[in-house]
């Protein structure tokens, strides 16, 4: 078997999230794959626009909703631009799922806070829908989400949907200068809003964080000041990858390969790694 061979998937639906971010709904062309494919929240895959290359994104949909797979990506490089140009009915390549998972068993009975910035919401969204679909297993759900501007927020319709749910609190913010006259959310960086406006109680709570390394750093610090312990913080890293299989050599942080040992890390695991992520 060729480990680099992708499965073919058809784009069922394209959602333009922002001017340069799209969501794809993907369905396996092979019937057997459609029936047998399984993954868990937190895992990632390699997506290709044939002729352009491969890129690494998380699986943004929930394993509780298996009628299609979703990915959400920004057009920044050759392959993502290639993907961006595809339409409904077109084919993409898919290799995965790879990597470890969010240990949902360990979250049972606890309140969960999801903290994300910009394009980092999709990796957490898989977990969000997963826990919302099994709401009886978990406590209160909070979602703290920010982007540079109002225009850059992804999943705008779903955020509204979450805001309507009784067991969900949504705290949304945009960076200073990114607001519009109609904006009803906060204005400020995610770690600041989290600490000063939302100020969650750490009791029986797990915080799931995804964002650029600098945001993870400041968010950890803010949560630390709020009284969160290291074993209450979990994050997912987004290092550059090519193979996803522990061979191509670029996603490592010291001896830790994000593709094999991650992408999901507890804060205490992260603290043991060299500061090179």
């Amino acid at each position: 078997m060729n480990i680099y061979q992708p499965h073919l998937m058809t784009i069922n639906k394209v959602i333009q999230e922002t001017p340069d971010i799209k969501t794809f709904h993907l369905v396996f062309q092979d019937e057997e794959m459609r029936d047998n494919f399984r993954f868990k929240a937190g895992q990632f895959a390699e997506y290709s626009a044939f002729g352009h290359g491969e890129s690494t994104f998380c699986i943004a949909s929930s394993p509780t909703r298996m009628d299609h797979i979703e990915c959400c990506f920004r057009s920044v490089g050759k392959n993502t631009a290639g993907l961006f140009g595809l339409s409904e009915g077109d084919t993409v390549g898919f290799r995965g799922p790879y990597g470890n998972v969010f240990p949902l068993d360990k979250f049972k009975g606890k309140d969960l806070i999801f903290i994300a910035g910009g394009i980092a919401l999709p990796p957490l969204r898989s977990v969000i829908w997963n826990v919302l679909d099994k709401a009886e297993d978990f406590g209160h759900i909070s979602i703290v989400y920010g982007a540079r501007t109002v225009e850059d927020l992804v999943y705008k319709r779903e955020i509204e949907e979450w805001e309507q749910m009784p067991n969900v609190t949504v705290v949304k913010t945009v960076d200073p200068g990114g607001e519009t006259p109609e904006w009803k959310g906060h204005v400020g960086f995610v770690p600041h809003i989290l600490e000063n406006e939302f100020a969650p109680n750490p009791d029986n709570t797990i915080a799931l964080i995804c964002g650029p390394p600098i945001m993870i750093k400041f968010t950890f610090e803010a949560l630390d000041r709020l009284g969160f312990k290291q074993d209450q913080l979990i994050t997912t890293l987004e290092n550059r990858m090519k193979c996803g299989l522990g061979k191509c050599g670029r996603c490592n942080i010291g001896s830790t390969y994000v593709c094999l040992d991650g992408p999901v890390f507890w804060a205490e695991e992260l603290a043991k790694l060299p500061k090179e992520y």
């Binding site: 078997m1 060729n2 480990i3 680099y4 061979q5 992708p6 073919l8 290709s48 044939f50 002729g51 352009h52 290359g53 491969e54 920004r74 920044v76 490089g77 993502t80 009915g89 077109d90 084919t91 390549g93 650029p212 390394p213 600098i214 987004e238 290092n239 550059r240 090519k242 193979c243 299989l245 522990g246 061979k247 191509c248 050599g249 670029r250 996603c251 490592n252 942080i253 010291g254 001896s255 390969y257 094999l260 043991k272 060299p274 500061k275 090179e276 992520y277």
Partner: protein, 368 residues
């Protein structure tokens, strides 16, 4: 273990016998380094048509290692075609001809296990068939070194000039111009069977051991490496001043990684013509600035010295931790071929010094 004796002057005949038995035979030859009439000939492992002009046992080390015959520089891993608005993918069927690489130096032979640890299913269960199928069909005939040059340092990383690790058939030159032949594996035995008309009686084990010891004396560059792993394991050394100071002159050309027999990094890209294309896996280097660059613009290894720190750490820690294999085989290519004379053994020397300093001295704030 079976041994035999072979006349050194019969190597050409050995190569001819192997070529006649329909094997692809690769051995060191003198070849122009560039495609130019002015190019200087260098020692290169090259497929042979006959045994006439081989350089087996000559020189120190071929410019290229065995790596490029197993982990190919640039190879299609998938074919695809856009037809009638649909994508069709096809397996690429490479030929994996039965290959004998003859005259491999012990350092290069030892590196194969390291590469295999990355590419085979031993690594998380993912088997890169493009590597492992080639390896299955490759027989390694090693040739002990009798001397080293100023860049060789195999004895500093646990190897010897006459090591037989990774060898199927091991040859050691004796002072009487014969070769001591050791059959190490069934694949080596198959080669020995082809060479049977040229093999004589049992080998002289005592003479072989003496030759090995003599060769050991000729490897002059000696560093301690036994303290390096523990020093790298100590996270506080990640920000040691040494990294920036020694790495300052690195220009990030990546030559060390391309020459290195254990470096395994690669990139995957699509190459297309019209509606058809190939997905290509090709050598990449952790020394390039875009290697780890995130799409956001963030780069975890944003300075050249950090990229060299990663390379050194990969050789002396990551390979051990992650792949349970040896990261550096001491071939010295990264020293010989570096355009700015960056020397991995200088790092080894510094780390050894730092690691062997008494604790009290290390904790003295005035000590640099």
């Amino acid at each position: 273990m079976k041994t035999a004796t072979l006349q050194k002057s019969d190597i050409g005949k050995c190569l001819d016998l192997l070529i006649q038995s329909q094997k692809r035979v690769i051995a060191p030859q003198l070849r122009p380094r560039l495609d130019s009439p002015d190019a200087i000939d260098v020692l290169m492992l090259t497929p042979l048509e006959n045994g006439d002009n081989h350089q087996v046992g000559q020189g120190i080390l071929p410019l290229n290692g065995v790596k490029e015959f197993l982990f190919v520089k640039h190879e299609p891993i998938l074919a695809f075609e856009n037809k009638d608005n649909k994508v069709h993918i096809k397996e690429v069927h490479h030929k994996y001809p039965e290959t004998i690489i003859f005259g491999v130096r012990p350092c290069d032979a030892a590196s194969i296990a390291s590469q295999n640890a990355v590419f085979s299913s031993d690594n998380a269960g993912y088997n890169d068939q493009f590597f492992t199928k080639r390896l299955e069909n490759t027989t390694i005939v090693t040739y002990s070194c009798t001397t080293g040059d100023q860049s060789c340092f195999c004895t500093s990383v646990g190897l010897e000039p006459d090591s037989d690790r990774g060898s199927d058939l091991h040859l050691t030159e004796l002072p009487d111009n014969t070769l001591h032949v050791e059959i190490k594996t069934p694949a080596g035995e198959r080669v020995a069977n082809i060479l049977a008309p040229l093999l004589q009686g049992e080998g002289d084990q005592a003479a072989r051991d003496t030759a090995g010891k003599e060769a050991h004396k000729n490897v002059s560059r000696i560093r301690n490496s036994h303290l390096i792993k523990a020093w790298l394991d100590d996270q506080s050394n990640f920000d040691d001043e040494m990294w920036e100071r020694l790495g300052e002159k690195c220009i990030g050309c990546g030559a060390c990684t391309f020459m290195c027999p254990t470096c395994h990094c690669f990139d995957i890209v699509d190459e297309t013509r019209g509606s058809k294309g190939y997905r290509i896996k090709f050598w990449d280097s952790c020394q390039f600035d875009h290697f780890t660059l995130h799409s956001s613009g963030h780069n975890p290894r944003d300075k050249q010295y950090k990229r060299y720190r990663n390379r050194f750490t990969c050789k002396f820690k990551i390979y051990q931790d992650k792949f349970n294999a040896q990261g550096c085989v001491g071939c010295g290519r990264c020293i010989r071929d570096c355009p700015v004379n960056l020397d991995i053994t200088e790092y080894m020397k510094e780390v050894d010094l730092k690691a062997s300093l008494p604790n009290a001295l290390r904790q003295d704030p005035d000590f640099e």
